[in-house]
């Protein structure tokens, strides 16, 4: 009984903002989402790394927008009105990620997460935190801290 109670206590839930990219559903921890913006003009930055789409002006602050499709190895797509820029906090950095659409916030229990779904090398898919089965579909949980490497985050900071 004590063991079961301990397990239940340890099985804490967390909330994840779900978004779509290329017909698949991903989630990022709600604690790391600052806000969700409608599609706006993204100004390209000459000489920026390839994973950077450009910058936006967010109430007077410059936010770098990361090309999520490129990072996830997905084919490029012209942004449309359903696209959203999710402003995330990763460590002490703030950045935007462009996604096809944002859906909802879901509650996920730790026990639901399969944290070892990758077969790729750890470097290439390090940002996949795990997967959760929801409504006969898999929700892929993304660790935004690992979306870029430390060096890449530094590059973003220097833009």
């Amino acid at each position: 009984m004590a063991e079961a109670a301990r397990r239940q206590a340890a099985d804490t839930g967390s909330q994840w903002v779900t978004f779509a990219l290329d017909d698949e559903v991903y989630g990022i921890n709600v604690m790391q989402v600052q806000e969700v913006l409608p599609m706006t003009e993204i100004a390209p930055v000459p000489g920026a790394p390839s994973f950077v789409m450009g910058i936006i002006n967010l109430r007077g602050n410059v936010v770098t927008v990361i090309d999520t499709r490129m990072r996830f190895g997905l084919p490029p797509r012209e942004p449309d009105s359903s696209c959203r820029i999710v402003v995330i906090e990763a460590g002490d950095q703030i950045a935007g990620i462009l996604v096809d659409s944002v859906a909802e916030v879901v509650e996920v229990k730790q026990s639901e997460v399969d944290t070892a779904p990758n077969v790729g090398n750890e470097e290439s898919s390090r940002y996949i935190y795990g997967v959760v089965s929801r409504n006969n579909e898999l929700l892929i949980l993304v660790d935004v801290n690992k979306l870029l490497t430390k060096e890449e985050w530094q590059e973003v900071a220097s833009i």
Binding site: E24, R71, F72, G73, L74, D114, P117, N118, V119, G120, N121, E122, E123, S124, S125, I128, V131, S133, N136, E137, L138, I140
Partner: protein
């Protein structure tokens, strides 16, 4: 009229035997190459599945302890007789209990193969393969909605399939066992063979019959080599026998080392 047909049949069998022999040749001194590129110089047309092979009727023997769970599962689908053509389209699910780990012996047949064992024939493109039933978890039809692709995975990993509360990693078998020039045309994935502990799923074009094999009927691979997935070849049925555990170990091991978007 008959002569050319016979000649063609002989040529087919020669080609297949040559291919199966090639599968068993191990050249450890050669530099490492991607498994998908290892099979060379064979004629896929000659491997057109089972036209030249008479269908074998298998009556499952329930008395044999190691194969018993698999036999029960198969018997549920076809109580008396299992015939390859009758399986098309495949039954929704053919399930067998996962077997305890039994890595193949380096010399001769593994323990699970004695005194005899059953194996399910399946096709990947034009290539005949067989998987021991004792190593087979389930056979699942390719889901209508497809599988869930994961970002930045190797090309041979098609994605994840949620199956019986597990996330099964679906492997493009054709990409692993067929050389690139033999799979220019896409090999359709119509079924998924869930193997071992249910962690890996191998795609295949079609499911064949269940064979009962004596260990002597298999030309067992005698040395660890460049095709860890190959347990041996069954010349009578012109097929290669999979070593599912080695396959899984190869995928797991190679995945950690390989570039994300290249074949292994």
């Amino acid at each position: 009229m008959t002569k050319p047909a016979v000649k063609s049949l002989v040529a087919q069998q020669d080609a297949i035997l040559s291919y199966l022999d090639a599968l068993l040749q191990e050249i450890p001194a050669e530099p490492e190459a991607a498994p998908g590129e290892e099979i060379q110089d064979w004629d896929p047309a000659a491997l057109a599945p089972p036209a030249a092979v008479a269908p074998v009727v298998v009556r499952p023997v329930v008395s044999e302890p190691p194969a018993a769970p698999a036999v029960e599962a198969v018997a549920e689908q076809a109580p008396a007789v299992v015939k390859a053509p009758a399986v098309e389209p495949a039954p929704p699910v053919v399930q067998a209990e996962p077997a305890p780990a039994a890595p193949p012996a380096p010399q001769g047949p593994p323990d699970w193969a004695r005194p005899s064992f059953q194996a399910l024939l399946f096709q990947v493109g034009a290539l005949n393969l067989a998987v021991p039933l004792i190593k087979l978890h389930s056979v699942v039809p390719w889901p209508e909605q497809g599988v869930t692709p994961m970002p930045n995975q190797p090309h041979w990993c098609l994605g994840l399939l949620r199956y019986r509360d597990r996330n099964v990693r679906i492997v493009d078998t054709a990409r692993l066992v067929l050389p690139p020039d033999k799979r220019r045309e896409p090999v359709p994935a119509r079924h998924i063979l869930v193997v071992g502990d249910g962690r890996w799923g191998l795609t295949c074009s079609s499911i064949g019959e269940v064979l009962r094999l004596e260990p002597e009927e298999v030309k067992w691979r005698t040395a660890a080599g460049r095709r860890p997935w190959l347990a041996g070849t069954v010349v009578d049925h012109l097929c290669a026998l999979l070593d599912t555990e080695a396959f899984g170990a190869m995928l797991g091991g190679t995945a950690k080392q390989s570039a994300p978007t290249t074949d292994i």
